[in-house]
Point group: C2
Chain length 148, copies 2
DNA sequence: TAATTTACCCACTACTTTGGTAGGTATATT
DNA sequence: AATATACCTACCAAAGTAGTGGGTAAATTA
């Protein structure tokens, strides 16, 4: 699994903040309701985003979170690398992997490396701005209208 | 994780059989020794390959396994789909996934679908024959020789 | 026929990750 | 002072991973 709920929820939260805010702070209570994600679980994900300066949070009434940058300046790859343990497709390519004594003669390693490269390349090519307002339904309606 | 040890070992076993056999049966004891994988664990993986007719096994002295087809007729994607629970990069695209009520409005689903498509396309484009004799070392020596 | 070698089968276990929940504290606003 | 919010720590249930142990069945060889 490249992405578990933690990474996927992180993406959805950031998109929700981007879509519902124009600089003001958004309460997680509202995001949780809109995204149908438990508030308690969101509270475990947000500190990761705060500590890496993807969002800024303020306490107290009227508080919440806002993005630190423009949506076009976040890539999906960056967000997943922070929230997932590792996005490598196989254990031997994970950051904490022990060196493998068979690596130099491994018949499959070059393939895994190329797959890893392709996954990263794709995820790094997509920004939060690309994801905003993007849905299957929207794409279908574009297709139906002939605007393809 | 796209591939756990089960799928990776399955690939290595099939490559080992392909490289060390010319039609005769190869004992798992020997594959286990060459690949440094526990024989007991291999014995859990092979029945999966037998039941899907990727290999044929015979009992008794001189027995073992051999490939059912030419190495060029196995794709990595096919092998991993049999040995891994699922190679989808996210839970909502797995075969046994429950329908998601948010799918039509999900901002991230099209991206996950495209990622899934790219992973499958790549893994389906590589055959066992491609992997045989392929190593980093071999690629390095090709590069060093200027034969790139 | 007996011994040996191999595939094959079933039960069990230790460990890690995932996806949460519970209950509270700190901080800011009204 | 009351309220609303972020933030923190601990805990838990379920599932998946990566095995091990202890056999049985079938084929070959001596």
């Amino acid at each position: 699994m490249v992405s578990s709920t933690r990474g996927r929820y992180a993406l959805r939260v950031l998109i929700d903040i981007a879509e519902n805010s124009h600089g003001e702070y958004i309460a997680m209570k509202d995001v949780a309701a809109r995204q149908e994600i438990s508030l308690k679980y969101l509270e475990k994900i947000l500190p990761i985003l705060v500590s890496h300066h993807l969002v800024e949070g303020i306490h107290g009434k009227g508080g919440g979170y806002r993005l630190s940058r423009d949506p076009s300046e976040y890539t999906v790859g960056e967000i997943l690398r922070l929230t997932e343990n590792d996005i490598a497709p196989v254990a031997c390519l994970q950051n904490d992997a022990l060196p493998c004594s068979r690596a130099a003669n491994c018949r499959t390693l070059p393939m895994w490396e190329e797959l890893d490269r392709r996954i990263s390349e794709y995820l790094d090519s997509i920004t939060l701005a690309d994801l905003m307002r993007s849905t299957e339904a929207a794409q279908d309606s574009i297709a139906a209208s002939g605007r393809v």
